[in-house]
């Protein structure tokens, strides 16, 4: 018989096997044996969050900015239930997370013991898979499989629930090098040449094509982004991106139409509506993208490339489904395209020139423009200045959820993948600050900014303490309008300006709050002081809370009103007045 290891030791042995360097967590009774073991594993650093939700979002930020799985460690009961929001968030946005939770000892399971909850029951619908380990002999294999499930196919969160007695029990440590089983749809990602030729043929026949790309490109790895840029250059087709896909293609490139969807650009949404070929690469036809499904892009043939077969045909019927990882699809497509279609870019130019003329016409609407002011800081202006003053650095941006998130997506231009971390699917207010903590842990020395709203950021403000403890110089750039801005905007447009509970009275003094946490507080009130103060924020090597007081009544435009197709956008306040008064509420 070989050497015996405790369950807690086995946990770390598997973490080491997977080259885990950081775990985000919070200790508690049922997970103490694992915390006790921490000291013996110097290559693994534990980041102590201030709340398990914060640990979870930090692990998400870590994963999304590094491409590695994020690991979190929480205790039983409230530790696990607090982690649920972060797990659900990771599930919706396909972020690989391995969550290890302590559980009451096996003999107490089911007795309503202290800090007991049915963790695997609660997290079943918000993880790709979860395990309750009842025999220490299974622990190594389960932990190993947890990493495999989290990181293969469409990535996502998994949870391993380990009762306290299992953490103490000893057994031999064996990690079998078993044959890798394909998970998630269990299809192998090879795209056949026949499929690729079909794609190419559809591309050749199209005179109004568009690439519609999403988070799948980012999740596939940096190589996928390179290949996407190559494909767009080979074809000269216009490209738009979902919220999650920003950065896969350069935001300042002339072929890029900006983000699409509810708050996307006029040109992107009209191009989606009017195209004759839509090539969806790694996006999922989310309802914020499609608007009214029956009238979604009525004239187009649709190709959908997705690693998750259940994403294809779920919301929108497509003409050519391709189940594949984005990188391997693009590799095959680009290769085939170059072999068979030399000089396509030039020979096809006249074929799509009318299309580009249409797009340029839509572009001239300048749908992201806004009326600037000398007296009050417009939130869009603040994001634009932040972009201009930071774009020469390798910047990582996280956001909370709401108007500021959309303004950030519209006005901050990304040129690289993995630089943009935002809660898209679940829309979790309070995501951005802890996510920034995780991003900074994964990317020391880089500039990490959370573009925040004052309401969101208060939900997880406690994590500033984490940032200070680990000397993580994250910048919390708050667009402070004193309202839950997006809620207020909807109330203005849909609920007769009844601003029910969307104004936050008694906001804290953010500068003093920053000081209380031991970080730097900066406040900007006027447009003319903005640049200087943003520079001050960027240049200080400490965590900063930047309180940027902005116009409280500004709305986020352009927007597709609910129930409307892509070609009926509201461009600004003038549009909104006209349509609401003339035709009543039916439009919004």
């Amino acid at each position: 018989m070989g050497k015996l290891f405790s369950g807690a030791e086995i946990v770390f042995k598997v973490l080491e096997h997977h080259k885990v360097e950081h775990i985000f967590g919070y200790p508690g009774g049922a997970v103490l044996p694992i915390y006790d073991e921490l000291k013996n594993h110097k290559t693994i650093k534990h980041i102590l969050a201030r709340h398990e939700q914060g640990a979870g979002h930090a692990a998400e930020g870590y994963a999304r900015s590094s491409g590695k799985p994020g690991v979190m460690l929480v205790t039983s009961g409230p530790g696990a239930t607090n982690a649920v929001t972060a797990l659900t968030d990771a599930y919706m946005d396909s972020v690989p997370i391995v969550c290890i939770s302590g559980q009451v000892p096996t003999h107490l399971i089911g007795t309503d013991a202290f800090q007991e909850c049915d963790t695997t029951g609660i997290t079943r619908p918000c993880t790709k898979h979860n395990w309750l380990v009842k025999d220490v002999k299974d622990l190594a294999a389960v932990m190993d499989r947890a990493f495999e499930v989290a990181t293969t196919g469409r990535p996502g969160p998994v949870l391993v629930d380990i009762p306290k007695d299992i953490q103490f029990k000893k057994t031999e440590f064996v990690l079998k090098n078993k044959k890798k089983k394909q998970v998630n749809g269990k299809l192998n990602g090879k795209v056949s040449n026949t499929e690729i030729d079909k794609v190419v043929n559809m591309m050749k026949k199209s005179s109004r094509p568009i690439f519609y790309t999403g988070g799948g490109v980012i999740n596939s790895g940096p190589e996928a982004s390179k290949l996407l840029r190559e494909l767009v250059a080979l074809t000269g087709f216009p490209i738009t991106s979902t919220l999650q896909g920003l950065g896969a293609y350069p935001g300042d490139d002339p072929l890029f139409l900006g983000m699409l969807g509810m708050h996307g650009t006029y040109e992107a949404n009209n191009a989606m509506y009017s195209c004759d070929l839509m090539i969806n690469i790694g996006a999922r036809f989310d309802d914020r993208i499609t608007g009214k499904v029956d009238e979604f892009s009525p004239k187009s043939k649709k190709i959908h490339v997705d690693i998750d077969p259940s994403s294809i045909g779920k919301n929108i019927k497509v003409d050519l489904p391709v189940v594949s990882d984005v990188e391997s699809f693009l590799k095959a497509l680009n290769k085939r395209f170059k072999e068979k279609n030399k000089d396509f870019l030039n020979s096809n130019k006249s074929n799509i020139s009318t299309w580009w003329k249409d797009i340029d016409k839509w572009r001239q609407k300048k749908s992201l423009s806004f009326k600037n002011s000398k007296e009050v800081i417009k939130p869009q202006y603040a994001v634009q200045r932040l972009y201009e003053l930071s774009k020469d650095k390798d910047v990582y941006i996280t956001t909370e959820v709401g108007q500021h998130q959309m303004w950030a997506a519209q006005h901050y231009k990304f040129n690289k993948p993995n630089r943009w971390m935002t809660s898209g699917g679940l829309g979790t207010m309070g995501y951005g600050l802890p996510a920034a903590v995780g991003v900074q842990v994964a990317n020391p020395g880089k500039l990490v900014i959370d573009i925040a709203g004052e309401a969101s950021v208060l939900m997880t403000m406690q994590e500033m303490s984490t940032a200070v403890q680990y000397k993580l110089p994250i910048k919390i750039f708050i667009l402070n309008n004193q309202y839950m801005g997006m809620v207020r905007q909807w109330q203005e447009l849909l609920h007769e300006k009844n601003y029910s509970e969307s104004y936050t009275a008694a906001l804290p003094n953010f500068v003093k709050l920053a000081e209380a946490y031991g970080c730097i507080g900066i406040q900007a009130k006027k447009p003319d002081e903005l640049d200087e103060k943003i520079n001050e924020m960027i240049n200080v090597n400490k965590p900063v809370i930047f309180d940027c007081l902005v116009d409280p009544m500004e709305n986020c435009f352009p927007m597709i009103p609910s129930g409307k197709p892509h070609n009926q956008m509201l461009l600004g306040p003038e549009d909104e007045k006209e349509e609401v008064s003339d035709e009543g509420k039916t439009l919004v």
Binding site: K186, P309, S310, W490, L494
Partner: protein, 182 residues
């Protein structure tokens, strides 16, 4: 268009609902049934009946048979979502009226009534492979195997004849001929 006051779009046109039988082969491990059933309830799919038991003792494989209804798009989603679950090995889907598929359900009925009514009850059960499992002075328990809709009808017929308790397994299914579903 209706008056939407919501941040969400309105429902589109609905397709025609069809009845399907979904057969799922799963690892017989803790929580696997909850995963399958939770997927149905979480995503708003129907379950009309459910039958489950281990069919391979060595490999610990259970076979779950679910009778459901939904538009073709929903049925497709059910299959794909089930396939994504880690302990699921394969998923088969049959239309209820597929002639190549055998569907059977077993039911037990307890009838308490006069001799005359019990005699009638026995007769109506006769053509469904009925077996009397238990008899007393004024009652019997009878087992039948039949299609779901036949059992539905039987229950209606037996009600006035003294049916006091009915128990059904839910449908199970198998393909005809030598082929098996891979």
């Amino acid at each position: 268009m209706g008056k939407s006051k919501s941040a969400y779009s309105e429902p589109g046109k609905l397709g025609k609902s069809e009845n399907h039988i979904i057969v799922v082969w799963v690892d017989n491990e803790a929580g696997v049934l909850a995963r399958v059933v939770g997927l149905f309830s979480g995503r708003g799919y129907n379950i009309e009946s459910l039958a489950v038991a281990e069919v391979d003792k060595k490999k610990h494989i259970s076979r779950i048979t679910i009778v459901t209804s939904g538009t073709p798009q929903v049925i497709e989603q059910i299959k794909l979502q089930l396939t994504k679950l880690i302990p699921v090995h394969k998923v088969a889907d049959f239309k209820r009226n597929d002639p190549n598929i055998l569907f059977k359900e077993l039911a037990l009925f307890k009838v308490v009534s006069s001799k005359k009514n019990r005699e009638k009850a026995r007769k109506v059960c006769k053509k469904y492979n009925s077996i009397i499992l238990d008899k007393s002075k004024n009652s019997f328990v009878i087992q039948v195997t039949a299609l779901r809709r036949d059992i539905d009808k039987l229950i209606e017929t037996l009600n006035p004849l003294g049916l006091v308790s009915a128990s059904r397994t839910g449908a199970v299914a198998m393909t005809r001929g030598s082929e098996i579903f891979k």
